[in-house]
């Protein structure tokens, strides 16, 4: 057991509102990298940015799945205490899935896509990435004037192939947040993604 | 020169001051107190608590006074206050067979264990205005034998053993809560009942009445109506056992309805259920009729009447929603009205143009 529980937002109502606006802007402008630097520290290996997303969106109505690298006691205790969310073991049952580049493809493949009448009954992935450099992608779709170039680290061909399938499912599908230690970006299901070098 | 209308804020403040004056009435007449409302306009308080979805006699009395006696406005005040309250959890289900009875009647049986208890009711009053009533102090009421067993079994439990009446449905799992999740259709009975208990008394009364007149006829008998006090218990997570947190007055109505059976269900009596805070007997009875009418799907009946149409009934039962949308027509709509004017003028010009062409 961890000795002391780290705190969350100091002024929850105001700080979570500020965090949410960043998250909303990120989702509304896919691929745009925006600073998210909350006023608290999260237990490693959880980034403070990831924690801010969880504390802003998760509660006892949203089962939360974590990959093995994040399933540290300190992280679980912290998220349980601050969000009240149930830690879910079964990926398809989760509303939010916290993962890292190594586990992102499998999480994406198994996360809920909603159904034709309720496409909103789907999951959101939060992927911790070291930084926003690496794979170059060209994005098109709602929220993007003409095209936007987006780069992110270490997700690999299988992940991007699955993201393409995810977009094909529209209006079903999952939405993805990428969280670097101090920045976030989002790719909703509505975004069309082209990898560099692809036709 | 035309000057655009200004001063919305001043107008609002002035309107609120006038409202305060009207509410107070003639200052030479003593001001009514919320305690008086709570003690003497009890049925108004009961209705506001039931449809406001909050058991708090004092707050309901405050709301009635603030609303100048407009009960839907009072219900709205209570709902708006309720939604800001923290939620500690759900009580364990109340046990109405343990009710401390003040009134209990059955129209289906002449007598039954516990007997018929008339209690406080308008039923057999002669509706003659009692001009002196307010001035004559009431004589103490004979309360009947002090040793009356005030808890008694539910009538429908007494006849249930024979198998003539369907078992009270007990769905497994937690009941839903439409104040936490938006209602989706088709809705199960738990959510239908919650919607009905919050629903407008007048609307349910009219719908219940329509079933009696053949629009979804269900041959009802008032199996039992009981009014009295039940205790409310709660199991705090950290204690792990149940503790009693208080008592509330409620009215429960169980209707017995004839049912000829269908492909999937044998002939038997079926049930309609009504419940309210306080003594909202008309509401509980209407609710029981509408509850039964809405059970068409599970009983494999043909849906023919408005009271059986769950989307229609549940979408329009809430008087806070209904009054909001009806009354919002008071808000300015002149932009859309201008759009309609423009369209209508154009259409009429074209019609006249055609007429002229035809005449030439």
């Amino acid at each position: 057991m961890s000795t002391e529980l780290l705190s969350g937002f100091t002024d929850h109502a105001r700080s979570s509102a500020e965090a949410f606006r960043v998250m909303l802007d990120a989702m509304a402008q896919p691929g745009r990298i925006l600073p998210l630097t909350p006023d608290f520290a999260a237990p490693a290996p959880l980034f403070a940015s990831t924690a801010a997303i969880c504390l802003t969106l998760c509660d006892y109505d949203t089962p939360l799945w974590l990959d093995d690298s994040l399933r540290e006691t300190a992280v679980i205790d912290y998220l349980r205490f601050h969000t009240g969310a149930r830690i879910e073991n079964d990926r398809p049952q989760a509303s939010f899935l916290l993962c890292t580049p190594a586990t992102a493809a499998e999480a994406l493949a198994q996360a809920s896509i909603g159904n034709a009448e309720y496409p909103d009954a789907s999951a959101t992935l939060i992927i911790q990435v070291p930084d926003f450099s690496g794979d170059r992608l060209t994005l098109k779709g709602p929220g993007i004037k003409d095209e936007r170039v987006f780069t992110t680290a270490g997700l690999g061909a299988r992940f991007w192939a699955l993201m393409d399938e995810n977009h094909q499912l529209f209006p079903l599908g999952r939405d993805v947040y990428f969280a670097a230690p101090k920045e976030i970006a989002a790719l909703p299901r509505s975004t069309q993604i082209k990898r560099e070098g692809q036709a | 020169m035309y000057v655009a209308v200004k001063g919305g804020e001043k107008a609002i403040d002035a309107a609120h001051r006038l409202l305060g004056e009207e509410r107070r009435g003639n200052p030479e007449i003593p001001e009514i107190t919320t305690t008086q409302i709570g003690e003497q306009l009890t049925l108004a308080v009961d209705r506001v608590m039931t449809e406001g979805s909050l058991y708090d006699r004092e707050l309901a009395a405050v709301a009635i006074k603030q609303a100048r006696g407009d009960l839907i406005e009072a219900i709205f005040l209570i709902r708006a206050s309720r939604t800001t309250l923290p939620r500690y959890g759900y009580s364990t289900p109340i046990e109405t067979s343990d009710m401390l009875i003040r009134r209990r009647i059955s129209a289906a049986f002449k007598d039954m264990p516990g007997g018929q208890i008339l209690g406080p009711t308008f039923d057999y009053t002669h509706r003659l205005l009692e001009f002196e009533a307010s001035e004559t102090p009431a004589a103490p009421v004979e309360t009947g034998p002090a040793d009356l067993d005030r808890t008694m079994p539910r009538v429908l439990d007494l006849i249930g053993a024979e198998g003539l009446i369907e078992a009270a449905s007990s769905t497994s799992g937690e009941p839903g809560d439409l104040t936490r999740e938006p209602l989706a259709f088709p809705a199960d009975r738990d959510l239908r009942l919650q919607s009905l208990v919050r629903g407008d008394e007048g609307f349910l009364l009219a719908l219940g009445y329509s079933t009696q007149r053949g629009y979804g006829r269900s041959h009802p008998f008032a199996g039992e109506i009981r009014y009295g006090e039940v205790s409310v218990s709660f199991t705090p997570e950290e204690l792990g056992f149940e503790i009693e947190i208080g008592a509330i007055d409620i009215t429960e109505c169980e209707m017995i309805n004839q049912f000829k059976g269908s492909a999937g269900v044998p002939p038997q009596f079926t049930r309609g259920y009504g419940l309210s805070f306080g003594q909202c007997e008309r509401k509980a009875m209407s609710m029981a009729l509408v509850d039964r009418a809405l059970r068409v799907r599970e009983l494999d009946e043909e849906q023919t009447a408005p009271a059986q149409d769950e989307e229609f009934v549940l979408s329009h039962a809430d008087n806070v929603q209904a009054t909001g949308f009806v009354e919002h027509l008071k808000l300015p709509h002149y932009v859309d009205f201008q759009a309609e004017l423009e369209l209508l003028r154009r259409l009429r010009r074209e019609v006249q143009g055609l007429d002229q062409e035809a005449a030439e």
Partner: protein, 278 residues
């Protein structure tokens, strides 16, 4: 600022629920996300959906503008603005350019909006198919199957009968080539402003418990037919105050002998134009 209530009135649990709905709405443009709308301290029909959306996105740094019928000083706009000043202590403005969030009923401001602005619409009936099919179970299926035939039939019947599509406001449009949606009761004059708009547009229907969105730079195509293309209202005279010929005008009756004048519905835009001309 009134204490005793949470920042922006709603409690945090409610905001989380609405925020989740907002993100889904943005991810699925034009799709109506159900949400557990709360009773607000103003009546249903007065903008409870818009108010809940604004309360959930508002930060202490925001500057809020509230309009009703295009005007900042209509009673309900005044009342909603006052509500947020009391419960959130935010700065307010009547100037479109200075606002970071604009809550509106029935109009889209005339000035083009920017990427750093959010427009929040108050919506009475979010379902564009509702007046053709009152049942939610049916309309939900139609959206799922992208089956919008009845809407086209209705519009075509208008043309057959009147020679025009007889819908002057709340004119249906298709978002991002997928969902037919109701842009709220704005005059169809405003529909083109929704298309490819730089600002995020959020729609809240409190009584009907639905939230939907149009992200920035998203296609919003008003429904029409090749031989009857979509068109907007025109006036034969300019605004009597600023002389504009490109804005939406309100008709003011001046006497009982048919005398009338036309003035801009967007009061801020009209004032700016008058100042520029002076």
């Amino acid at each position: 600022m009134t204490t005793g209530y949470n920042f922006a009135y709603l409690n945090e649990q409610t905001k989380r629920m609405i925020r989740r709905a907002l993100l889904k709405a943005v991810a699925i443009p034009g799709y109506q996300v159900p949400f557990a709308s709360r009773e607000m301290p103003m009546p249903y029909g007065w903008g409870t959906g818009g108010v809940q959306v604004t309360a959930s996105i508002l930060t202490p740094q925001d500057t809020l503008k509230v309009i009703d019928q295009g005007a900042d000083d209509t009673t309900n706009a005044v009342s909603i603005r006052k509500f947020f000043v009391r419960t959130a202590g935010v700065a307010t403005t009547e100037e479109t350019e200075k606002a970071s969030i604009i809550q509106t009923r029935h109009r889209v401001p005339e000035a083009a909006l920017r990427e750093d602005q959010i427009l929040v619409y108050q919506v009475p009936i979010p379902e564009p198919l509702r007046f053709l099919e009152p049942r939610e179970t049916e309309t939900r299926k139609m959206h799922a199957l992208e089956e919008y035939g009845i809407m086209h039939v209705k519009l075509y019947e208008d043309i057959a009968r009147h020679g025009h599509i007889a819908t002057a406001y709340a004119y249906p449009a298709k978002v991002n080539g997928r969902y037919v949606f109701d842009p709220s009761p704005i005059p169809k004059f405003d529909n083109p402003k929704l298309d490819d708009c730089a600002a995020l547009q959020l729609f809240g229907a409190g009584r009907e418990k639905r939230i939907y969105a149009v992200p920035p730079y998203t296609k919003v195509r008003s429904l029409d037919f090749e031989d009857h293309p979509f068109s907007v209202q025109k006036w034969e005279e300019p605004c009597a105050l600023c002389g504009s010929t490109t804005t939406y005008l309100d008709e003011i009756i001046l006497d009982d002998k048919g005398k009338r004048m036309f003035v801009c519905s967007d009061t801020d835009h009209c004032r700016k134009s008058q100042e520029k001309a002076a």
